[in-house]
């Protein structure tokens, strides 16, 4: 498993974006080839240096070819690397001119095997999906995608986990500042309360006028790390440039779940009474 902290790629077209993905992966692969590469969110916006989030309809984001370029590059990278690839995320624009955030999963042959739209609105993304499912990627391993702010809504990780996800993948592009405390109550926390692996990729640097401050991390339940931190590799969130690599064995997660079956202590009788009805209340 490899995840990245990278600045936006200044790639003028799909082919160069795909090559940039492969190049970043190969710098890691020379040392330690990975079965899955997770790239930061919004990396593909480097294809559109003139984008304007305040005016998506009027900007180049409205160009459907952006999604096509993103998909072509992701497929190329997966094929070339012979690995599962999530090429970050990309913005899409609805016919009403509202932004969505989208991520795709490619198998080792470059086939599109999973797609996910962000499910919770944020300051930028105003059109969201109400569908979410894990994606089977390899040897029975299922991954769940946390797109954008979804990593901070525990409902998403819970739904994915109870549908069988073993690994939560968060290709993020958090605006600066992004302090470690905010990161900790995102993916790290979801990993702990669901006993799954989690992988976070982070965009950093400037994209247009916006500053991003992503981090990268590979996280496991605290019980799986000697120092209890849950970070694989240690010591914690990576804030350099490049990749973080770790080997995740789903069998190890199963052992943690057997030793302490946390989710056996869920209280469905309680939830049945209040969820989802209580969400219709506006406190």
């Amino acid at each position: 498993m490899a995840t990245f902290r990278l600045p936006p790629f200044a790639a003028p077209d799909a082919a160069s974006f795909g090559r940039a993905l492969v190049q970043a992966a190969e710098s890691t692969a020379q040392r330690n080839p990975a079965d899955l590469y997770l790239f930061p969110g919004l990396l593909a916006l480097g294809l559109l240096p003139q984008f304007d989030l305040a005016d998506p309809e009027g900007s180049a984001l409205a160009d459907a070819s952006l999604k096509d370029a993103y998909l072509a590059a992701g497929s190329y990278a997966a094929r070339t690397l012979g690995a599962v690839v999530i090429p970050g995320t990309v913005y899409l624009v609805t016919p009403q001119g509202r932004l969505q955030q989208y991520a795709a999963v490619f198998d080792r042959q470059g086939n599109l095997v999973g797609e996910q739209l962000q499910t919770h609105r944020d300051a930028v993304v105003q059109a969201v999906s109400d569908e979410i499912s894990p994606v089977a990627v390899d040897a029975g391993v299922k991954v769940g995608l946390l797109v954008g702010r979804d990593a901070w809504y525990p409902e998403v990780s819970r739904i994915l986990t109870l549908q069988g996800a073993d690994i939560l993948l968060a290709p993020l592009a958090p605006p600066a500042p992004y302090p470690s405390e905010e990161a900790l109550w995102g993916l790290w926390q979801e990993v702990q309360q669901n006993q799954v692996f989690g992988v976070e990729a982070g965009l950093f640097g400037m994209l247009g006028d916006l500053a991003y401050a992503g981090r990268a991390a590979i996280v496991a339940p605290c019980e799986m790390t000697e120092d209890d931190s849950g970070f694989l590799p240690r010591p914690g969130y990576f804030v350099g440039t490049g990749a973080q690599v770790a080997t995740l064995r789903v069998d190890d997660i199963q052992k943690v779940r057997r030793d302490y079956p946390l989710l056996r202590h869920l209280n469905p009788g309680l939830y049945r009474k209040y969820l989802p009805l209580v969400y219709r209340r506006l406190p």
Binding site: I132, Y153, E155, V156, L162, R257, V278
Partner: protein, 352 residues
């Protein structure tokens, strides 16, 4: 009831007479510093209490009195005790105190009989525990004019189930109760039952939720409470995690406060208790944006062992403003689509 049981109950009732307890507290008095409360701001105290065996009601009463008095002296209006505060009272059971000094509660009970569960002990002690516990805290809440979240007490209810129940005592004499909904494995072994209701209580200090310890491991608890209107969540805890792990401790109240935009006040029971070594911090938590250092901590005890009282002001007005400025962007359509299915699949024995 046979003669032995009758005698035992008689002794327990004599040891837990409310008049004696209230009289002792009144004799000690309720002098306190008068503080003019700020509108919309609640001064909270979180208590870190070292477990000890109280073999008489008076020992318990004095301990609680001293703790409350110290918090009130600092201007506290809401005082939060740890989970299982009432467990200090198992020592009032005749003969059990000396046994518990030498053995765990399970070992001690095995000397009584192979089929005796810990829950049976709580059933036997229930009436006396309730009298001492409720009389002590309600007298103090009224006497000092403060709200006391008295941690929790393991008590039998009418249908013979034994529950771990959080309590809040108000100055006007109300006793508000919340049953723990997510049990630790040990509590299940002990024969306790879990609750299936959550409530938010309207008080003079704001809207308060009272889940108990392990309830904070599951985001669902705080989310339900938030949606029911909670602004302050008081969480009594007693964590049998030794040695203390700051990372594992980070899986409780702190992220729940962030996810749900509430204040969190956590009392912690520490020390050797019934064969366990308990560690943890008393602490008061807030959303990151409402804390000086952006770390979500308003006040946290220095060490995860030993006794402490930490205090902080909860600015409920600022919390309401934050919620308006940064509202949660929930997606009910998503939850309606999946929750009934994923939870009920799990209910039927599904695994992940």
């Amino acid at each position: 009831m046979n003669v032995r049981d009758f005698t035992l109950q008689f002794m327990l009732q004599m040891r837990s007479r409310p008049g004696r307890i209230a009289g002792r507290l009144r004799r000690r008095g309720f002098r306190h510093k008068v503080r003019t409360p700020e509108v919309g701001v609640v001064r909270a105290a979180a208590v870190q209490l070292e477990w000890r065996l109280c073999e008489t009601a008076e020992e318990f009463v004095d301990l609680v009195y001293d703790t409350v008095r110290a918090a009130v002296a600092e201007g506290a209006e809401l005082i939060a005790f740890p989970e299982d505060t009432a467990s200090l009272l198992v020592g009032v059971m005749p003969g059990l105190g000396p046994m518990l000094r030498r053995a765990t509660v399970d070992e001690a009970l095995r000397q009584v009989g192979d089929d005796v569960q810990v829950a049976d002990l709580f059933r036997l002690l229930g009436r006396a525990t309730r009298r001492i516990y409720e009389t002590t805290f309600s007298t103090l809440a009224h006497g000092y004019g403060v709200h006391i979240a008295a941690g929790s007490a393991v008590l039998p209810i009418a249908d013979q189930r034994v529950l771990n129940i959080g309590h809040l005592f108000t100055p006007e004499g109300r006793i508000l109760r919340q049953t723990k909904c997510h049990l630790m494995p040990l509590e299940e072994e002990w024969g306790l039952a879990a609750g299936e209701d959550l409530e938010v209580f309207d008080t003079a200090l704001g809207r308060i939720g009272l889940p108990v310890c392990m309830d904070a491991t599951f985001f669902e608890t705080f989310r339900i409470l938030r949606q029911l209107g909670a602004e302050i969540v008081v969480l009594p805890m007693a964590d049998p995690e030794y040695p203390y792990s700051p990372w594992k401790a980070l899986r409780g109240i702190w992220p729940r406060v962030q996810e749900s935009q509430v204040f969190g006040v956590q009392g912690a029971l520490v020390g050797e208790a019934l064969g366990m070594r308990l560690t943890g911090h008393a602490g008061i938590y807030a959303p990151l944006a409402l804390t000086e250092h952006g770390d979500g901590r308003l006040a946290v005890s220095d060490r995860p062992e030993g006794e402490a009282i930490v205090l902080a002001d909860l600015d409920v007005t600022a919390l309401r403003r934050l919620r308006e400025e940064q509202p949660l962007q929930l997606n009910p359509a998503l939850y309606e689509r999946y929750f009934p299915r994923v939870y009920s699949g799990f209910w039927r024995g599904g695994t992940h």
